[in-house]
């Protein structure tokens, strides 16, 4: 199905609806994906993205249906391989605005290797990891991010595996951008997506997504109104790392445990101990991503790093060389019609 409605001299500002397709969205009612789709569409509208130059790429899973619902180019591929296919697109056409939509199984289990290499190569695209800590489309099996002891159809005795930690994985793979945001934080999600999109390199965003059917409320302790202020540490570059209902709590570095710890300035510590967020500080990022209480959110890490496509194109010769001369390379000899002396026939 071809779409081109946006191209008829649109003068009014774009809205999220301009990036919706006429395909019926088929996620379960109440799925966190709806909020993500809305935020992505709004982000594209706010950025005035050119839909003809934008591609959504996905692997397999609930999240992977995403491309069908965004009115851009879209390629729904095979399980775990979206990163590889997206890399090929960027190599072929670096100007394309590529977004990958993927789940925790797709990204961190079957596609873990590709995600690792995408991040270390710093391909210039946005990567959305929908982390709901469960396999949804295959009906509720444990995923690589499921918590120890989680009972699922595939782990009736409780999951024994140590979960993969998306943030540590990303930073360990050399990610130049890591952000984390819950699906329900709509405004913040749009801001984070814009930041990821504006980043030169892989803008890797872990979205805490709720699977209402197989792992409902897994993020509720962090996202519920009652606990959000105490459990959410929003990281903003250049601002103190504070949280709590009155922003009375803050983070400091404990030189004895070599860890971050929460405290209340003026009560159990001094104001000048409060850490100020620095997105470019990789050490701070590693400490922040591992925090659980509170959970660090927002753009946790961002630094300038060489981008794959740019480095490759920079290294290329400018001018196309002559193909015939290439074929003519090596030791060339000519066989003429009357070449050298005749051969004596010898019986064999």
């Amino acid at each position: 199905m071809v779409s081109g409605s946006l191209d008829a001299a649109v003068t009014a500002p774009l809205t999220a609806k301009d990036f919706a397709t006429d395909v019926e969205v088929r996620w379960c009612p109440g799925c966190g994906d709806y909020a993500i789709l809305k935020a992505v569409q709004k982000t594209l509208a706010d950025l005035a993205a050119d839909p003809d130059q934008t591609v959504f790429v996905s692997g397999i899973g609930c999240a992977a249906r995403f491309p069908y619902y965004v009115d851009t180019y879209g390629f729904h591929t095979v399980h775990g391989r979206a990163a590889a296919i997206a890399t090929g697109m960027k190599l072929a056409k670096p100007g394309l605005d590529v977004w990958v939509a993927s789940g925790d199984g797709d990204s961190l289990s079957i596609g873990g290797n590709h995600l690792l290499h995408l991040l270390r190569r710093n391909v210039d695209l946005v990567y959305l990891l929908f982390n709901n800590e469960i396999y949804g489309l295959t009906k509720g099996q444990a995923s690589p991010t499921s918590r120890p002891g989680q009972v699922t159809p595939s782990t009736p005795q409780g999951s024994l595996d140590v979960p993969v930690h998306a943030g540590s994985f990303a930073l360990g793979s050399g990610a130049s951008f890591f952000a984390r945001v819950p699906d329900v934080a709509q405004a913040a999600l749009v801001d984070v997506l814009k930041a990821a999109h504006g980043h030169s390199g892989t803008g890797f965003v872990e979205i805490l997504q709720n699977c209402i059917v197989y792992n409902d409320a897994v993020w509720a302790p962090v996202t519920s109104k009652a606990t959000a202020a105490e459990r959410q540490l929003w990281c903003r570059h250049g601002e103190p790392l504070r949280f709590g209902v009155q922003q009375e709590r803050a983070m400091r570095f404990n030189v004895h445990t070599l860890a971050l710890e929460a405290f209340t300035p003026g009560v159990d510590g001094e104001e000048d101990e409060v850490l100020v967020h620095d997105v470019a500080n990789a050490t701070l990022a590693r400490l922040l991503v591992e925090l659980t209480e509170p959970l660090a959110l927002g753009v946790i890490h961002q630094r300038a790093a060489p981008v794959l496509e740019q480095a490759r194109h920079g290294a290329k010769a400018e001018r196309r060389r002559d193909l015939q001369r290439l074929l003519d390379g090596g030791d060339v000899w000519t066989v003429g019609a009357h070449d050298a002396e005749p051969v004596l026939q010898k019986s064999f």
Binding site: M1, Y73, A92, L96, A317, G336, E341, P342
Partner: protein
């Protein structure tokens, strides 16, 4: 040189030694001299899987074989006429293939107690009479080389490494050649390292001079410059993998496309990765991926975005690419996948040759997933087959598998350099306002609408697509229709490929020999000689393995007896029998090595029921 007269005899020379002895280099230099003398030739390098196997062991032996002469040469030869063996292990491994009365050049310095023990010799073959049936030239090559290079003032280690060039010089002399090309190569290759260059030059010349001053009887002056058996033209010596890479680059040029080659290192396909990596100035983007799956994924992503995606691998890697091939086929995107086959199953014989991925290529995917399969027949033919593969991929918007093998990848032959300007351009399906899955009634191909094309954006994927729009469809009748479309699209390519013709003979012969891929040389030589002896044997050789040429069925019907020859357990025979419902006989060989002419002839005689 007055006593030498050029003849039309063919000669088979094999250089053998440790994998670190520079054997492949010696062979390629000898090849260059042969080509320069106007000889036709075929070469076959044979090296171990280990990079540096323990020195002196039989499993570390590397060899390079060349058949050459001033008439047409189609194989690297069955039996060796001249064996140059740099150590006892090289002699032991290669002696069984030397003809009785053949020449053995050995470095006797290596035949000490240690060297003999490492090779597993209980007694010294140079002195125990076991080589009485051969013409043995046992020389202290180590000492002769050391003496020759001493004036260059190089270290003993570098002097020892020049033994290969000393034996090259001797081999050139024995077969009537000069050293002009080798000298030029040394000067160029060791530019900036004058003492190493001088040492190698001295070793080469000393080997040549030794033959002359010791008045060794010449073997066969095949290197004497003489009238070439090749048709007039400009030639270069080319290995299969290089020809294939040049074919890909040329095809991209003919299609006015750039090419993205995604690959993961695997023997024997890595040489393509290395060759293409040097060709970025010709519109090639080479990407070493993290694994085989990513390699094809990157290629497919490139095709989606409008460049021509190509990936190359060998059997085990092909197995990993299978799922993505299905996606390429479902998405109806052009893609070229090269499988340089090797011995299997599993890791198998990585450096040896085999044709056992045919069924994997033709049938090895989940569901009904047809795609075109081609095979290159000779090193030079890999150039044309690569262009043909690209042509079919673009014509039908489909992934195409091109089969080569370990022999073809490494073997070389004289190649008539094509004139790019004379090659036909390659067409691709036009967009022309069509829907993404609007299938052309003639070719059944959909248009290629690369991401980024204005006002044509669409969403596709591995879920079944609606014929026409490409939107997701679970409709049963649409799935049936799409399956027929995918099948019919490949079948219709039979109309776009040349009719099958005979390599030798015609419809009236008694027996039809069928081959495919790199066995062409051996089969042609075998059939040619049998026909000269009066046997009524015809021969065809398939480039197109899926779909088959449209006249193949009718052609098979004309023969009561058909013999399918292939380096596997009978895969083409199975496909032909399934497709055409007729029995065929099968000659199979799975030894990691090409057919020998003699074994093909023996089997044909058996089929014909004759003893002559």
């Amino acid at each position: 040189m007055d006593e030498m007269r050029a003849t039309d005899s063919l000669l088979v020379v094999r250089f053998a030694g440790d994998s670190g002895d520079g054997i492949q280099l010696t062979g390629s230099r000898y090849t260059a001299e042969a080509a320069g003398a106007g000889a036709d030739l075929r070469t076959f390098p044979d090296f171990p899987a280990e990079i540096r196997a323990p020195a002196g062991t039989t499993y570390g032996v590397s060899a390079f074989q060349i058949q050459l002469g001033h008439r047409r040469v189609r194989t690297a030869g069955d039996q060796v006429d001249v064996l140059v063996a740099l150590n006892p292990a090289a002699l032991k491994v290669n002696l069984p293939e030397v003809r009785t009365g053949g020449v053995l050049v050995v470095d006797e310095a290596t035949f000490g107690e240690r060297g003999l023990a490492k090779a597993g010799y209980a007694a010294n073959p140079l002195t125990d009479g076991s080589l009485d049936g051969y013409r043995l030239i046992a020389l202290d090559v180590t000492k002769l080389t050391a003496e020759a290079v001493r004036p260059a003032g190089v270290k003993a280690r570098d002097a020892g490494r020049a033994r290969n060039l000393w034996t090259l010089g001797l081999a050139l002399w024995l077969t009537g050649g000069d050293m002009a090309k080798s000298e030029a190569w040394i000067a160029q290759h060791f530019e900036g390292r004058p003492s190493i260059a001088e040492a190698n030059m001295r070793a080469l010349r000393a080997g040549h001079a030794f033959g002359e001053t010791a008045e060794l009887a010449r073997v066969e002056p095949v290197l004497l410059r003489a009238h070439s058996p090749l048709p007039p033209g400009r030639y270069r010596s080319i290995a299969g993998s290089d020809a294939l890479c040049l074919g890909l680059v040329t095809a991209a040029h003919l299609a006015d496309l750039e090419l993205v080659y995604g690959s993961y290192p695997i023997t024997p396909a890595s040489s393509m990765l290395h060759t293409l990596a040097k060709l970025e100035a010709y519109g090639v983007d080479v990407f070493q991926a993290e694994d085989e799956i990513a390699a094809i994924g990157v290629a497919l992503g490139a095709s989606y975005a409008g460049k021509l995606g190509v990936t190359g691998s060998s059997g085990p890697g092909m197995a990993l690419k299978t799922e993505m091939l299905g996606l390429a086929l479902a998405a109806e995107l052009p893609l070229v996948v090269i499988d340089a086959q090797r011995g299997g199953p599993s890791t198998g014989l990585p450096t040896k040759t085999e044709q056992s991925d045919l069924l994997q290529a033709v049938l090895g995917r989940n569901a009904d997933a047809p795609l075109p399969v081609l095979a290159a027949a000779t090193p030079g033919d890999a150039f044309d087959t690569a262009i043909e593969a690209v042509r079919l991929a673009l014509r039908a918007m489909t992934p195409v598998i091109l089969l080569t093998d370990g022999y073809l990848a490494n073997a070389s032959e004289p190649w008539a350099i094509p004139d790019v300007a004379s090659l036909a351009p390659i067409e691709r399906p036009a967009i022309g306002g069509r829907q993404p899955y609007d299938h052309d009634p003639a070719t059944l191909a959909r248009p290629w609408i690369p991401a980024g094309t204005p006002r044509m954006r669409h969403r596709i994927g591995g879920l079944e697509r609606q014929d026409g729009s490409g939107a997701v469809s679970y409709d049963p009748s649409n799935h049936h229709r799409m399956s027929e479309l995918r099948h019919g699209k490949i079948e219709r390519l039979a109309d776009a490929i040349p009719a099958q013709d005979f390599v030798a003979g015609d419809m009236d012969d008694d027996l039809l020999v069928i081959g495919w891929g790199s066995t062409l040389g051996a089969l042609t030589t075998a059939v040619e000689e049998l026909r000269q002896q009066g046997h009524r044997v015809a021969q065809i050789h398939l480039r197109h393995l899926a779909p088959f040429p449209s006249n193949l069925g009718g052609l098979l019907e004309r023969f009561e007896r058909v013999l399918v020859c292939e380096l596997n357990m009978g895969q083409l025979a199975l496909v032909l029998q399934g497709r055409y419902g007729r029995p065929v006989a099968s000659l199979t060989k799975v030894a990691g090595r090409p057919f020998q002419v003699s074994e093909v002839q023996a089997r044909v005689r058996r089929e014909l029921g004759v003893t002559w």
